[in-house]
């Protein structure tokens, strides 16, 4: 396990690890939009003056339900592969936190409908209700994030399973949980900034003018997100102890750690460019997006390395090898490509054939 991730593992293990990480990256992108987007919407609603239009709040209100759908859809793929990679640990944590998993379903349904409720004229016309509705949605999503965080930490701590079961505790007590969740939530801000930037850019290109100040607000959100998430990451690194810190910059994770750090710099440069730009914003958004990709990919890999090194991972190789024997991967790959083409065609049809709405 001295080679950079995912090398140094038997073929099937490396294959499932890589597939898992890539699918999780897609989930993280949309989940970040939901988590940070709902938070930002709430802040804007609390601070906003009634009667003034707020492009960012409008965009968020319009797109958050879709983003949630996308986060859930994208979450299913890593959910599948994690069961192959860490079957027993994942199931055990699920069973021990069963109240959580039974509550997540209603929480997400409520969160979903609250996001849709934001779009109704009834809620739009009532500033206090708007804030209440968004607070409710945010609470649902934070609860979901908390549950995943707790599940992740519990799954990699085998020693805690039997005592927790015997104690009938509904909560896994671990001092990493809240700081870790804070890190996820703050880390979601730069992703939101990049995606909002693209949405504004597209709007502008479609002929609706967007004020420079709005782009600047987005750039500030991204830069501020990088700073606070960075500070939080540093604090979290202090908390996890020397062994985990060493693994985060050990041979398996180092290239990815470096990629993530470089990604932060590139992303930051993209945001600075966006802040200053009067035109050609697509270029700066492209740079910020490239940086963001490396940040998410790099941190997702480092996150995985910390789990691999915390459990008896080699004992799981035979299970991965057994799973790899079943057929069907070409079927998947074939349909993945076909359906990706069809999905692109559907999006193109919708975007190019739809008549512009009356101004």
């Amino acid at each position: 396990m001295d080679a950079p991730f995912p090398f140094g593992f038997p073929g099937p293990t490396a294959f499932y690890l890589a597939t898992y990480v890539l699918t999780l990256v897609a989930h993280v992108v949309f989940m970040n939009y939901v988590l940070a987007g709902t938070g930002v919407l709430l802040v804007r609603q609390i601070r906003g003056k009634s009667g003034t239009s707020d492009v960012l709040a409008e965009l968020l209100r319009d797109w958050l339900p879709f983003a949630l759908s996308a986060a859930i859809t994208a979450g299913i793929a890593p959910l599948l592969f994690i069961q192959i990679l860490y079957k027993k640990a994942f199931y055990t944590a699920n069973l021990l936190l069963f109240h959580r998993w039974m509550l997540i379903l209603p929480a997400l349904i409520v969160g979903f409908y609250l996001l849709y409720a934001q779009k109704t004229a009834f809620v739009k016309a009532r500033p206090r209700l708007k804030v209440l509705v968004t607070t409710g949605a945010l609470a649902c999503f934070l609860f979901t994030a908390l549950s995943w965080t707790e599940n992740y930490l519990l799954a990699r701590s085998e020693g805690a399973w039997a005592p927790m079961y015997a104690s009938k505790s509904m909560i896994y007590e671990n001092r990493e949980i809240l700081p870790r969740m804070l890190l996820w939530t703050l880390g979601a801000l730069p992703t939101l900034a990049v995606l909002l930037g693209w949405q504004l850019h597209r709007r502008e290109r479609a002929g609706s003018p967007v004020e420079t100040a709005t782009f600047q607000r987005v750039a500030r959100l991204g830069l501020g997100g990088l700073v606070v998430a960075g500070a939080c990451a540093a604090g979290y690194a202090m908390l996890v102890g020397p062994a985990a810190r060493a693994h985060a910059v050990g041979p398996m994770a180092l290239p990815w750690f470096v990629a993530a750090a470089a990604g932060v710099v590139v992303e930051g440069a993209g945001f600075v460019g966006l802040y200053r730009a009067q035109a050609n914003r697509g270029k700066w958004l492209g740079i910020a997006s490239a940086g963001l990709f490396f940040v998410i990919l790099g941190t997702t890999v480092v996150r995985e390395v910390l789990r691999i090194t915390a459990v008896d991972f080699a004992a799981l190789y035979p299970e991965h090898a057994r799973a790899a024997q079943v057929s069907g991967r070409w079927l998947f790959l074939g349909f993945f490509l076909v359906n990706a083409v069809l999905a692109t065609w559907a999006i193109r049809t919708a975007l190019t054939r739809a008549e512009r709405p009356a101004a």
């Binding site: 879709f66 027993k88 069973l95 039997a162 015997a166 799973a323 079943v326 919708a350």
Partner: protein, 487 residues
């Protein structure tokens, strides 16, 4: 090396017992509620909504096509309203209950879902690509449909419907494999398992059920929408076309029943009162919907208002509930036929556990261990937790105290030792005579309202008798008849 007793219906499973690693999981206690009810309840809800999503796609594609041909001018207005209902109900609750199914399946039987994932993960991943396509095409229609020309609308709806139906196609293969794994048992070939004996009847049945559900929801939407009376009538009549294939459901049901293993069929057709009742519920509710569809909507003899439409939807839900309970129940005593028993043990592991004990290696202590009067009862409680609690409770639904509390000790020993013959939809007992005796004492202790003091039994003659009974019962499932055993 150990070999499970083979019969013509049971494959011989040979395992190297030294590598045997039964995964032990923490078992949650749902109190008086049986685990099966928890997952069954959510499952029915999810299946109903998922089928609505598929049938809804078929219906809207049909209506869009009618509108394009100029045959139904009000179709477009209807489609836009109906699609909003579909998105708000099916995209949200349908999609999330789908995710919820993962979590509840893990709660009920992690080992079963693990085996399903191991065997079919690429099929599942393929299904996911269709699900993603369904969501994307659906959202494109939802957001832009009103501003699109007819051809583009038809394209998006067609894509949405095809993707939704293919989701059903893939999942249907996995679910039907659980009951009838077919040639997969011998060859391990994925496609032999996927295109198993109940695959086609189940696929067609579900497709027609989906169309029927969508037509019923359409009837409700039409009856509450501001259409002219004549428009309403025409829309209802057209929507009812999707109910017509229901006429084939009895045939498909019969095909499905015939393709089932003989013993499962016998549970449904009278062998198990609960299962027969659910079968009757499903068939009866479908019949009522079918009759109303024929007279009311297709022959235009009756008008349908929102109250009738709602009632028909409730009947449709009852039919789904009946069907799903039959599907879940008919698999007993297995979750994956001849591979994994309902209590998550393989046939080969039962052989080993008869000698080594079923909970010897269980790392999870009892909760409230101090409440038990002695180690024997504690052992019995652990055996109950590991082998029985997936289908039974202690004193609630299907409670052991109700079922066995009035038996004599002798009777309980015999019935548990020959569990698979006591009721053939139960698996063979999988422990040592000492574990069995402990289980008997645990049931008696619970039946006696948990007294503080409770005698420990350890009569060697009784243990020897239990051993004899266990040997007589063997480790093959109980539905193997005497003549099959001889063969």
């Amino acid at each position: 090396m150990k070999t499970a007793q083979g019969t013509p219906y049971i494959i011989t499973v040979t395992v190297d017992t030294s590598s045997l690693g039964v995964p032990y999981y923490p078992t949650n206690d749902f109190g008086p509620l049986m685990k099966g009810l928890v997952i069954g309840g959510l499952g029915i809800f999810h299946v109903f909504l998922a089928q609505f999503a598929i049938g809804g796609g078929v219906l809207m594609t049909y209506f869009e096509w009618l509108s394009g041909k100029g045959k139904l001018p009000s179709a477009r207005r209807f489609t836009s309203g109906y699609f909003k209902v579909l998105v708000l109900v099916s995209f949200v609750v349908g999609a999330l209950t789908g995710v919820g199914m993962w979590f509840t399946s893990i709660q009920t039987s992690p080992r079963t879902i693990g085996l399903m994932v191991d065997t079919f993960h690429w099929v599942w991943a393929t299904e996911w690509t269709f699900f993603a396509l369904e969501v994307i095409a659906g959202y494109c229609f939802y957001r832009y449909g009103d501003r699109l020309d007819g051809r583009s609308r038809l394209f998006l709806l067609g894509l949405y419907t095809t993707a939704a139906w293919f989701s059903l196609f893939w999942i249907n293969g996995i679910l039907s494999w659980q009951l009838t794994p077919g040639a997969w048992l011998e060859s391990g070939d994925l496609w032999a398992g996927f295109f198993n004996p109940t695959f086609w009847p189940s696929l067609f049945f579900r497709t027609f059920a989906a169309m029927a559900i969508a037509a019923l929801v359409a009837a409700l939407v039409i009856s509450v929408s501001p259409f002219e009376r004549d428009e309403q009538k025409e829309l209802l009549h057209r929507a009812a076309h999707l109910l017509a294939p229901m006429a084939l459901m009895p045939l498909l049901g019969a095909w499905y029943l015939l393709a089932m293993p003989k013993d499962s069929r016998s549970w449904v057709l009278g062998g198990s009162p609960a299962m027969s009742m659910f079968f009757g519920l499903g068939a009866g509710a479908s019949l009522l919907v079918g009759l109303y569809a024929l007279f009311g909507l297709l022959l235009r003899r009756l008008y349908i208002n929102s109250a009738t439409a709602s009632l028909l939807i409730v009947l449709g839900f009852a039919a789904t509930a009946g069907g799903e309970f039959v599907r879940e129940g008919a698999r007993k005593p297995f979750t994956v036929r001849e591979t994994l028993y309902s209590n998550a043990m393989t046939p080969a592991e039962i052989v080993t556990m008869r000698e080594q004990g079923s909970v010897t290696l269980d790392p999870y202590p009892l909760r409230d261990a101090a409440d038990f009067p002695n180690d024997q009862v504690r052992l019995g409680a652990k055996v109950y937790r590991f082998q029985c609690s997936v289908c039974h409770t202690v004193g609630g639904v299907n409670g052991l105290v109700h079922l066995a509390g009035t038996w004599t000790a002798e009777q309980t020993r015999l019935n548990v030792a020959k569990l698979q013959h006591t009721k053939p939809f139960m698996p063979p007992f999988a422990g040592t005579p000492e574990e069995l005796e402990a289980l008997v004492r645990y049931i008696e202790w619970e039946a006696a309202s948990r007294p503080k003091e409770f005698e420990v039994t350890s009569d060697p003659a009784e243990l020897a008798q239990i051993k004899r009974w266990l040997d007589e019962a063997g480790t093959a499932p109980g539905y193997t008849t005497a003549s099959e055993k001889k063969r």
